[in-house]
Amino acid sequence: MADPVKLTIDGIAVEAAPGTLLIEVAREMGKEIPAFCYYEGLTQVAACRMCLVEIDGMPKLMTACTQPVGEGMVVRTETPKLAEARKGTLEFLLTNHPLDCPVCDKGGECELQDMVFRYGAAESRYVEIKHHHEEQQWSPVVYFDPARCILCYRCVRVCSEGMGVNALGIVQRGAYAEIAPNHTDHLNCDECGACIDICPVGALTSDSYRYQTRPWEMNHVGTVCTHCSNGCKTTLGVRNDQILRGNNRDRSGINGEFLCVKGRYAFDFNESDERLTTPMIRKGGKLEPASWSDAIRFVAGKFKQVADAGRRIGVVGSARTTNEENYYLQKFARQVLGTQSIDHQRSGDVVTLLDALAGRQNALATVEDLYQSKAVLVIGTDLAQQHPLLHWQIRANWRHHGAHTYSVTAGPVREDQHTVGAVRAAEGQEIAALEQLRAQLAAEAELAIVFGDSVKGDAVRQLVAFGDSLGIPVKYVCLVDYVNSRGALDMGLTPELEPGYRAAADRGMTLPQMLADEHLAALWVVNADPLRDGALAAKDAFVVVQDLFLTATAQRADVVLPSASLYEKQGTVTNVCGEVQRLKKAAQTMGAKADLEIIGLIAKEMGAAAKMGPWMADKVFTEVQQVVAGYNVPLPVLATGGAAQTAPPSAKIGVETDPALIRSARDTLFTSGTLGSYSRKLDSLLESPGSLYQGEDALALTAQ
């Protein structure tokens, strides 16, 4: 590294790496140089002139957001002259500003308000009529109020640089300049809301949040997005048990401030009118409301009867329940119900990957690795649609570090914008196509490989062999669908593998086998919907369903028990990269219970409470840490909202699993399995339900 540069800021001697911007050095020192257009991670535009500083020997005030440190530089960041300059800038910004703070969503957390408060530019010498332009709705998500805009370009840059969508521009000029959407009067975009969150003022607002509340009236609860497997940390704004907004402005967690449309807006399923709020028991062919105690007693009685008679019970777990719940469920199934028939819908061949890596350390990439690795190879997935955070990371890696991106996909993907090697290959043909990239890849210093569900079974082993043959360090990410798809596998929600990928002593039925078994006596489905596109052969099977909604499976149930959502639970989830994060309960729905509690109550009713242990998330996690290999992660990391990667099994797993069981739901950016179908917001979007491999077309290059 080059020698550090020595300089003085406000009389304090500091050192910084050459090229560091003054504003960054000052921030490191705890000095907040005011800035609107400067934004960490985005390019510099020096458009707002708020960050002016005095530098000895330079006749004019300089913008700290573009001025790199210089040897011997003497800088002052707070002087009367600067205060005057900043005040002047603010006065200009306010000339056409409507000053409608009392009704503006941003009131209380507005950067313009804060600055005017700091520099006291409340008085205006501008007496002309303000230029005004009415507020516009650009999509079911995005609203724009031009009068409030201070033209900082943050929204434009986050959309083009960060997202790669390029849906926003600035049209006209001077006092008439304003932000414009890509389709004249509306947007066709990812609807991620990044532009809204990044806006320092209330110019861009979201349909979900606008005019709902004041920011200080909410509780801000940091938890994990309940949709895809990427596991973004989200901070929910909650008032009276109602989730009003989702964002991550504090940049905590693996995703920084990134969230996709689902994380930011598709929390509305939680308040859907169709949420189940009372248990139901089938009476005379109809599901009738029942009390919790009656329902639990009924289920426990039936389970006991079936188990005692030695008849077959199938248990279907979920990719959307917590690790604790999944662990507890399989323990219950295996130890209390005495069945090995436990499964869930698998969406990626994690098992074969772990087996092929045979205990190798440092071979599984984290979300951070995708931002750091010098090269990334994407196979068989449309990341921008299916794994938005991973796409964001890889793009940021390219933007900030010039990382090389390669892809082998069935159609155009957004990485094409910066790819150095893109190969098109039909699903299932990806591994053969890899050879075309061999020479290029072997010349890289390191590689992170991300692969989708079309690479499974033997193909995974071939992929690892290919990685090995490159002779460079390679890390892998096996993509899975939902927030805890990975955790479900880790916790042993398969008939062939117990928690921590230990081979099961005797194998029960897989999910398709359960559905096809005419003699199945009971089926217990926890937050899954296998009958959405499957049929149950056992006509008389006693079916218990725990879910948020009356799904196809729930409609067939004999007992339906209303579950709490992930936003209403404590516990942990494990993301696509095997990183464990802790949930925080943000809200609650009257009548619904966390699945852990429901399982616990059934256990208690069956007299198995002692065997199962307390149904408290913390207690169960302690057991998970002891029992499940790899889960002995540092608790302080979890407690402070961080993510801790689990260790892979220490040797080959040595259990054959059937690749045919692996099937991703192929959700797009605008669908999310069962939850997605109960999100009005997702449903209302022009882009919904979206499709994969549309690449640039999806960005609507055919504008207007």
Binding site: S160, N166, A167, G169, V171, Q172, L701, A703, Q704
Partner: protein, 161 residues
Amino acid sequence: MTLPPELEQKFSEIIGKYPPQHKRSALVPLLLYSQDALGKITPELVTEVARRVGVFPVQVEEVLTYYSMLHFPKPMGKYHVQICTNVSCQLTGGPELWERACKKLGLGHKEVSADGLISLEEVECIGACSWAPAIQINYDFHHFVTPEKLDELLDNLRQLQ
């Protein structure tokens, strides 16, 4: 969008002047040239130009709306009359010329005659201060314009048709 052959050729010529990694620099010349050749800039053309220089259509719109000599989305007339009312011209009768032109043509700022022949625009300094008041019709400058000269110029436009 398929371009007329002459325009197509002009496009390759203009884009060819820039290094491939900087072909977006061809944006303004392409737009100006298309506007002259086609008489207007349509949304289809915006998309086409964006594709050719490798930017997004909204970025083309940014440029189109920034530069006052590019007219989008509303095209101007075949003869675009631009009257300067900035300082030098203001002191030497520019505003009067503007009023007169408005009245004579029955048009206001950035309005186009029903037949699409003539349009009017009040512009800022066109760099002809030494010869103020100045007006510009398409690319032609007219200096020291008097009310009579203005009438004559405008009448001529009708005849040119």
